[in-house]
Symmetry: C2
């Protein structure tokens, strides 16, 4: 049987699946207004649905203050930079009382083409993009309940002073 | 507390998560040799782990024959084209006996920047990339058992003759 391949449309493909940038995935401002998030897909096959989202993140520059950290107890969370996006990562171990151990906090720069994943339950700053900003794919399980995200306000903000990596970023 | 942001390395980030292109994600040839697959991540938080993988797919051109179809009963499966990759999609509804209903097969072209998702259980051809080929992110739940993928050999191959979409692709 011969087929003629057609342009993919949401309507034509509906019996088989979904076109992920279809209408309905309206952008939502996240990360304190630095990023626009668009959900690309949720996946069947799991109690806590898996979500794949696109984040378009505005530029931030160093030094910057981190007023709070967050963690996702139910799931690992990954970010895959698209094109030339550069992420600033701030993480902290968990202290015996469950709060972030700020004295052991660390900051990292994930260069272009460097996807990364926060282990479930790891305290981390919301996403920041350095340089020109850029887009990331975000993937994690989300239950749609408050259990998805804990936050911890910091009495004294963590400050990222600078970077040891000279990559021509802001 | 002030921090100096460091380049992200697998070793430095290990207490907090994973750098997804770390050593160990060796490329595996898939899709009848057309593509190299690298697993970027598996996610905790679900009975059937969620897998995020990168596919680097060689170029195919029309017309082409599809000798078999496959389906993933346990999970939706999505592909997100990176950069300018263009996918050829071939799908078929399921007949009452469970086999693909070939008389109602359809072919689609997903242009650059068009991520898509196969609904769980949908018969589809393995991935083909038109034009210059290119890279895709693949996401799905995988149990690691034969239940992840059914295949159906076609007595007469499906042939994709041409495309109705003139996008300068091969």
């Amino acid at each position: 049987m011969g087929l003629i391949a057609q342009p993919l449309t949401a309507e034509g493909f509906a019996p088989f699946g979904r076109v992920l940038d279809a209408a309905g995935s309206a952008p939502v401002a996240v990360n304190q207004g630095r990023a626009l998030r668009r959900n690309l897909a949720t996946f069947s096959g799991c109690d806590a649905r898996f979500v794949l989202a696109r984040y378009d993140v505005v530029s931030s520059s160093l030094p910057l203050d981190i007023p709070f950290l967050e963690r996702h107890a139910l799931s690992d969370q990954s970010f895959v930079p698209l094109e030339s996006a550069v992420a600033l990562i701030v993480v902290a171990p968990t202290a015996p009382d469950g709060a972030p151990a700020l004295a052991r906090a660390r900051a990292f720069i994930a260069g272009p083409q460097t996807p990364f994943l926060y282990a479930a339950g790891t305290w981390h700053a919301p996403l920041f993009a350095l340089g020109a900003g850029g887009a990331f794919l975000m993937g994690m399980h989300e239950s749609g309940t408050p259990a998805d995200c804990d936050t911890c306000e910091l009495t004294t903000p963590l400050r990222v002073e600078s970077t040891s990596w000279d990559a021509g970023i802001g």
